[in-house]
């Protein structure tokens, strides 16, 4: 115990970083297409959105709740954006602000109902999921917006750094830094964490827990709307089915990234960069599964196994660290 190990090495993030590097090396040497410029560019576009989705779920998990309506909310916001830009001809920058406000509003509804009824956010967001998705399908008549302004769609297909990286990824990483700053250094961020970690204690020390929980849901809606915009830019169109039926396709990456990243499901602990690395790991494995050709249909099966494996590993880590702390 005399050898000094830097604290960083002992963290979950470091383990994740190692895993990400190991997988990158593994796929680079065992498969043909992995390190090609095309594949890395495609990966950067996918992972950008997965990070955003993971962050959107993370901020609700902070409250000890979850947000099933994430996908439905993101798609609704994206379709609203398509309507703003294509049908109403509102300039892009104003449209984006409107979309983000719209997402926050839907998130506010989730938070408000959860706080007012005292029911677990699971059941509230299950209901709002079908409400948002239902209204979205009704209003759009399941038609896509395909004639978006070119400046907007060009952003989605732009290539940076010798054509390796999409600007979408930079946007996601930038968001990570802002969230990190929010939770680490601002008053409101600390209050959000305190409210999630121990609502009673937070309430006693003068924090309005209900308001904090509503803020978390609003932030989740904001980030989900952001993911919706990015997905629209990537595809070049706003399509009602782009997150699957009821937005369910977003749910697995949404939970995988924060859970692998070390966010506690009981609330009160967030790891922004853990979530980022978690999303990267998931995207890498997903991409690898396609490259080694397990068959399109089995990819889902393996992703489920990976989630199971990740939570079990997390459990084991917790078990051993608690054991160690008793000994010392």
């Amino acid at each position: 115990m005399k050898t000094k190990i830097p604290d960083f090495v002992k963290t979950n993030q470091f383990g994740l970083l190692l895993l990400v590097i190991v997988f990158i090396l593994l796929f680079t040497f065992t498969t043909d297409g992995f390190s090609s410029r095309f594949n890395i560019y495609a990966l950067s576009r996918v992972v950008a959105i997965d990070i955003m989705i993971g962050l959107a779920m993370m901020v609700v998990i902070l409250t000890g709740g979850l947000n099933l309506s994430l996908g439905a909310l993101g798609v609704s916001a994206a379709m609203f954006g398509g309507w703003c830009m294509e049908s109403m001809g509102i300039p892009i920058s104003i449209s984006i602000i409107l979309i983000l406000l719209f997402g926050s509003l839907l998130g506010w509804i989730n938070g408000y109902v959860t706080v007012k009824t005292g029911v677990h956010s699971f059941i509230v967001t299950l209901a709002t999921m079908s409400i948002y998705f239902g209204f979205m399908t009704l209003l759009t008549e399941a038609e896509a917006f395909r004639k978006l302004p070119e400046t907007f769609t060009d952003f989605g297909s732009m290539k940076l750094f010798n054509k390796y990286i999409s600007p979408l990824l930079l946007l996601s990483i930038f968001t990570c830094f802002i969230l990190f700053y929010l939770f680490k250094f601002t008053d409101i961020g600390r209050k959000l964490i305190a409210a999630g970690a121990n609502p009673d204690a937070a309430e006693l020390s003068g924090i309005s827990v209900n308001r904090m929980f509503i803020y978390c849901h609003m932030l989740s809606g904001f980030l989900a709307a952001m993911a919706g915009i990015m997905l629209t830019a990537r595809i070049g169109a706003a399509i009602p089915s782009m997150a699957g039926h009821l937005g369910f396709d977003w749910l697995l990456p949404a939970f995988l990234a924060p859970v692998i990243g070390g966010t506690l499901l009981s609330g009160g602990k967030v790891t922004v960069f853990g979530t980022m690395l978690g999303a990267m790991l998931v995207t890498l494995i997903n991409n690898g599964l396609y490259l080694i050709d397990v068959g399109e249909f089995w990819v889902r099966f393996f992703l489920g196994l990976i989630l199971l494996f990740a939570v079990l590993l997390d459990r084991a880590r917790e078990y051993f660290t608690s054991k160690n702390s008793i000994v010392s």
Partner: protein, 322 residues
């Protein structure tokens, strides 16, 4: 009488009866034999699915993989008959067995790791669904024995489908389980307070694993009932079960924190959801409205439950002051 008023199912029953009278007044087609037949068919299927979720809600957890289990069993059941030429009975028992195994996996991992059932069943949802798609490659099985087709179409008397027998028996058995057996009472005790139920000497492992096994078994039965009705085994059976499976118990007054479920009220919840969906169809309202409606109904039920809790709290306070 005042006892009756306090029951969860009483208000629901009243809403159902009054609503039905009102609807049939405006649209006599509502009580046409064909409409009643369709209504009862959809009630039959959703009843089993709702019970499958309800028993997990009773122990204070949730099971996202209900639909995935139903789908996996449905395609295994039909696949065994079509590809391996198994007769109906062995295929059925293997199907039930798969449901039990899936439930056991959910329950065992949940209780042994202490990780929330939500995450475990989200993972197994993808595992079971992935196996389903991996096996079928998204192609349905069409060759269903005549006996099953007959069972799915036959009527007992008038508009009453043959298929409804199984869900009715299951509902009765679930009522007996939750109200008349020690296992059922233990489940509710566990759902109410894990620590105190353990202190009473109730084995958590046993309770959680049994509840998930029953849930898996019921999901399996649900999957096979859909096969009987559709007359084919498609991989997307079970995909749309999640929302209704929670809607019925919640509308029936189940508290999601566990410890309180009502089998009869859940059954009424299923009936209410089915009637409303059917009515929207009769009034030629866009099917997507059904979804929105279901969402709103859950929210309304949640608010009503909250209000009743609040009122009960106040009444208890008055008594304690005396």
């Amino acid at each position: 009488m005042s006892n009756l008023l306090k029951k969860d199912w009483f208000g629901l029953g009243l809403v159902i009866i009054l609503g039905s009278i009102l609807i049939s007044f405006f649209k006599p087609a509502f009580i046409s034999p064909f409409n009643l037949y369709v209504l009862m068919l959809s009630v039959s299927l959703m009843l089993v699915v709702a019970m499958s979720q309800m028993i997990i809600i009773a122990i204070g957890q949730m099971n996202l993989s209900v639909g995935a289990i139903g789908g996996l069993v449905a395609i295994s059941f039909t696949g065994l008959m079509e590809v391996y030429d198994l007769s109906i009975l062995p295929a059925m028992f293997i199907g039930l067995g798969i449901g039990v195994i899936c439930g056991f996996i959910n329950g065992y991992i949940t209780v042994k790791t202490g990780i929330s059932a939500f995450i475990i069943t989200l993972a197994t949802l993808y595992i079971f669904k992935g196996m389903n798609l991996g096996i079928t490659e998204a192609q349905p099985f069409y060759e269903i024995p005549e006996a099953i087709k007959y069972f799915g179409n036959a009527k007992i008397v008038g508009p009453i489908p043959f298929l409804i027998i199984i869900p009715v028996i299951i509902t009765f058995l679930m009522w007996v389980l939750m109200n008349r057996t020690s296992l059922g009472r233990y489940m509710l005790a566990y759902g109410n307070n894990v620590q105190s139920s353990e202190l009473m000497g109730i084995s958590s492992t046993k309770i959680v694993v049994y509840a998930h096994i029953i849930s898996g078994l019921l999901a399996a039965i649900g999957g096979m009932l859909v096969v009987c009705r559709l007359q084919l085994g498609t991989p997307n059976i079970g995909d749309s079960w999640l929302l209704p499976s929670f809607a019925a118990p919640v509308i029936g007054g189940a508290i999601l924190a566990g410890g309180k479920v009502d089998v009869i009220a859940t059954a009424f919840g299923v009936l209410l959801v089915a009637i409303i969906s059917q009515t929207l169809v009769i009034f030629k309202i866009d099917p997507f409205f059904v979804q929105i409606f279901l969402g709103f109904m859950i929210l309304i039920a949640v608010f009503i439950n909250r209000y009743r809790e609040y009122r009960e709290d106040r009444r208890n306070k008055v008594f304690s002051n005396e």
